[in-house]
């Protein structure tokens, strides 16, 4: 079991979700985050003083998948989230030891 965390551009959420759904991935969790990266923010002026908006709005998708679909999930995300422009975001994969479905107490791959 692996957890995929994808930081993407907000307007790409719909596409990424569809791409994952197409793979039969039925669950994911989404949150609003602010990202700092190569896509440098922008300098703005408020009431005469300059400031830099370093952190740009991004969406974080978290999805836990079985090892078997990891690869296809990753490529689906990367493909659907790509615009080719700076700030497209990143995907991180990390190990998950266990998953439990609260409703049924199921664990392991069945719980995903």
């Amino acid at each position: 079991m692996k957890k995929i965390e994808a930081i993407i551009k907000p307007f790409k959420l719909e596409e990424v979700k569809e791409a994952l759904a197409d793979l039969g991935i039925e669950g994911m969790t989404v949150s609003e985050v602010k990202g700092f990266g190569r896509q440098k923010g922008h300098t703005e002026i408020y009431r005469g003083s300059e400031y830099t908006v370093d952190f740009l709005p991004k969406i974080k998708i978290e999805v836990v998948v079985t090892d078997s679909v990891l690869e296809s999930a990753l490529s689906a995300i990367v493909k659907s989230a790509k615009t080719g422009k700076i700030g497209d975001g990143k995907v991180f994969v990390s190990p998950v030891d266990e998953a439990i479905r609260i409703r049924t107490d199921e664990t392991g791959d069945k719980a995903i």
Partner: protein, 475 residues
Amino acid sequence: MKKTTLIKSGIAALAIAASGLFTTNPAFAQEAVAVVTETVVATTTAVVEEAEEVSAIDKHWEGKTGDLAMFTVNNLWICIAAALVFVMHLGFSCVETGLTRSKNTTNILFKNVFIVCMGLLAYAAYGFNSMYPGDNWTIPGWLAIGSPIANGFGGADEVANLTAEYNAGYTYWGDFIFQAMFAATAATIISGAVAERIKLGPFMIAATVIVAFAYPITGSWEWGGGWLSEDFIDFAGSSLVHAFGGYAALAAVIVLGPRLGKYLPNGKVKPILGHSMPLAAIGVFLLFFGWFGFNGGSVLSANAPLVSLVFVTTAMAAAAGGITASFASWIMLKKPDLSMALNGILAGLVGITAGADSISPWASVVVGGIAGVLVVVSVIALDKIKIDDPVGAISVHGICGNWGTIAVGIFGAGSFVTQLIGTVAISAFAFVFALVTFLVVKAIFGLRVSPEEEEGGLDIGEHGQEAYPDFVPNK
């Protein structure tokens, strides 16, 4: 580079609008002061002289305290009504902001602030005198070229302008301020329909042109004594203000196109939800409030029977529109849609505006109630034909403006055919004028922000200013 050119053009447009009398460009402020000084000194002298001459006005009213009191209360009502119409601009701002996404909020508010300010100035500089030309028609009954308000002031005989000699209901100033508050409304209506995708500068130019030049033309047809003024009845502007704005908005939306992602390739409509229902509701309530001034003030005096009747018909039509739109959305869309109920109130208000003084209260319920249904049907229908109007401005002001005008031919004192001709003529003129204006502006400056900017929001793109920036760590 381009931006600067743009601004310069904007300034130029404004400067022209002001007929060289003033300029708003701060860089030229000193020159402006110089340019203006002469006029100002002249008019100031006039003011001072007026102060001394007060006796002339006093003399006018000598022994007529009852008449003076009537004139005073009439004029006071016109002024208060003007203030109420002003509140409508806040109402529009709130409705538009509430029914769009938070990333475009600063932009929408800025446009509304600009429109009110520009509208007042442009109407003073040009619109007022071209809308009420008296005998100074350029093309009799159809077109008049205005002259700045200053003429009316500096040169005029005060008694003639500041007493019932001008009008039994108001002074020259009362007249001006009430009409000026109306003028900007047309552009505000457009503003809502083109929200979330139009470039700021070009919008400002187009809006200025429409308010300054187009609105007074149709206005003069009816209220200025033009070709429609004989039999056509449009009490407070279902056509002259609302349908005008609605059809200008329609033209703008056609030139501009829908928001990204609204109409999916598969033919489906993806609604883009407004970000704050409280703002939308506050806006509609304030519009309802302000409408008492809009319609009530259009009596053009404090005439007790008429003003009170107008208050009743206005409120009843709004209430009926709110109720029928609620139930229409409940039945047609399964659940009661607040945004439709709110649009329904506005529909009722627009609907009764043409006949608020000549339609009986129960007929006004019918007029408003039909408007409430019409607006629901129209909003849905426009989405079907891919006319993307985020706030329902075309339906509320255009369609219901037409309906309200025609309703005077059914329930009120008007003739059906005349009403139809009038509302069609006004709507058509507004549509064509706006179409040409937006096409020209588009050709010269471009009209639409880039897809990137649209996705990121116009607040950042046009203003570099988020409307709700609280979780923006910045340095």
